[in-house]
Symmetry: C2
Amino acid sequence: MSSSPVGLHRVLAPSGVLPQAAEKLDARPEIWPDEVRIAVERLNLDAASYRQLAEAHGGDGTAIRRAVLDIVEARGKMQNPVTGSGGMLVGVVDEAGPDSPLGVRKGDRVATLVSLTLTPLRITDGLKDWDGKSEQVPAQGHAILFARSIVAKLPDDLKPELSLAVMDVCGAPALTARVVQSYVDKGIKPVVSVIGGAGKSGSLSLAAARRAGAARTIGVVPFQAEYDRLTEASLADVVAMADARDPVALAAAVGEPADITVVCVDVPGCEHGAVLSTAAGGTVIFFSMATSFSAAALGAEGLAADVTMLVGNGYVPGHAEYALELLRSEPGVRGLFESRLAED
Amino acid sequence: MSSSPVGLHRVLAPSGVLPQAAEKLDARPEIWPDEVRIAVERLNLDAASYRQLAEAHGGDGTAIRRAVLDIVEARGKMQNPVTGSGGMLVGVVDEAGPDSPLGVRKGDRVATLVSLTLTPLRITDGLKDWDGKSEQVPAQGHAILFARSIVAKLPDDLKPELSLAVMDVCGAPALTARVVQSYVDKGIKPVVSVIGGAGKSGSLSLAAARRAGAARTIGVVPFQAEYDRLTEASLADVVAMADARDPVALAAAVGEPADITVVCVDVPGCEHGAVLSTAAGGTVIFFSMATSFSAAALGAEGLAADVTMLVGNGYVPGHAEYALELLRSEPGVRGLFESRLAED
């Protein structure tokens, strides 16, 4: 037996599937020559996963902590069985195998940019320093990276929590920029609407859309406090307020349908509104893990809507560096991130 | 109160949602001025929905029939509560409101190209002529079309069952052709792999890819009988055999990764294999209603795969005419469709 670049050798059950689809991974600390072991410092749970856990346990921090520990113990990874999602982590390289192509060495502080759903993980401190009240989880233990993983060294000029929060959603601004650019390349300066514009992926996506050449940006938020926050950040040309789960209200709030709609809210049921508020021939990018494939496909068909719908791929080459650069250069983005971290 | 072009006035619960998201629709036969009432002749259940019902009831036709009747009675539409999917129907226009923009008149034989999941439906014959053993359901009753529905008159030169089977999957070849064309426009003749190439949407997609300018087409099938069938149809340059739920086996069967992968198999768990067998910078189009949004998004991220992933929109303007034309002009497609209908 040899190790696989995508981690097949760590799958315990069922056999033959990739690590993300596995029920259980082998999280033993001994590494293969192309693997890297990380000493974990902090987990950053996916927003949809944390929300589900918090709702399932009525916001009881102790019960939420127990649930996370149970999942990691049972599965050898942090993958919420209800939402299917995970998150990411930060830590220090403890051992890098001689054949690892990741370019890191012992002592480097890094963030993993592949999902926790496929990362072998063991927790050894019972999460004693986490109150269960936030997605940011101080933790001790170890995690394993495969040859075909993605890892980023944490920059020296930003607090680790801030870098981590940015990297967790860095696929969204990179893909948004790419799609906007494809319109610009065809001579069209698109109108871009970002549902959930005051959130982490949303604010970065708004900044990316503007920088990539959008004619106009619209940020949609669910209530007044977010409206005020996004207005103050000056990241959108128009800030609109609507419940994104209500297609009719959302379409009314957006007004003239957008060329590109970016869905960044982690609540179910936003597919139809996104389609209804996008122009014929336009594009919808779904970044929310709460997106239902069939609701999107059937919704567009049912509305006779000729729109291109993209599954938001969390990986675009250079995405972490791009998102960190947006944070550094856009005070509005940095302000939103810092105020959200302060609330956590 | 007035009627809504997208059917909001027919939603009974919960209020404010679009008909596809509704738990229950108002299926009363009286029409608003912009509606059309169809006298139903036949339902064509979505493959994923029928498969789920058949598995849930152990293939017992009587129980499957009862389940469909119960769903339609409870919901005022045929939407499988487990898969979320529906299907389509054929019938004769019974009454067209004076303000309907659909261009049909009493007596026209038509197929609905919007999903059954949003079409008010009442069944009046207890489905007595259906044995529950196939997706094609002879039925009597009525259905309602809104102003913004899509409906196609059935062509005179094809049997209604054949037209219906084609129209049910006509979004797949139209979108495949559009994506292949976008590569050709950039000077690239793409390699196109169709997972489930011997099926209905798969065979049409293979024909569409070739016609739109693919350099090479690969049809992937699950077992020998399908292999023989697709080989005989001469629709793919290469026919390969693999279980699409096994990413490693699928990638091995496809060989050199494809530029465009089209997923046409209605079984869960094909997302990772599709991503793994697609080249960096390539495109995956998911047409299966069994696709998991999070498995696709996290799978691509976990494999560090820079691929564009499209939600297969069932609506592309002109899709029905395009698919029917493929059927008429490609003996291989027609042969596959006719042999599948003969088996039903």
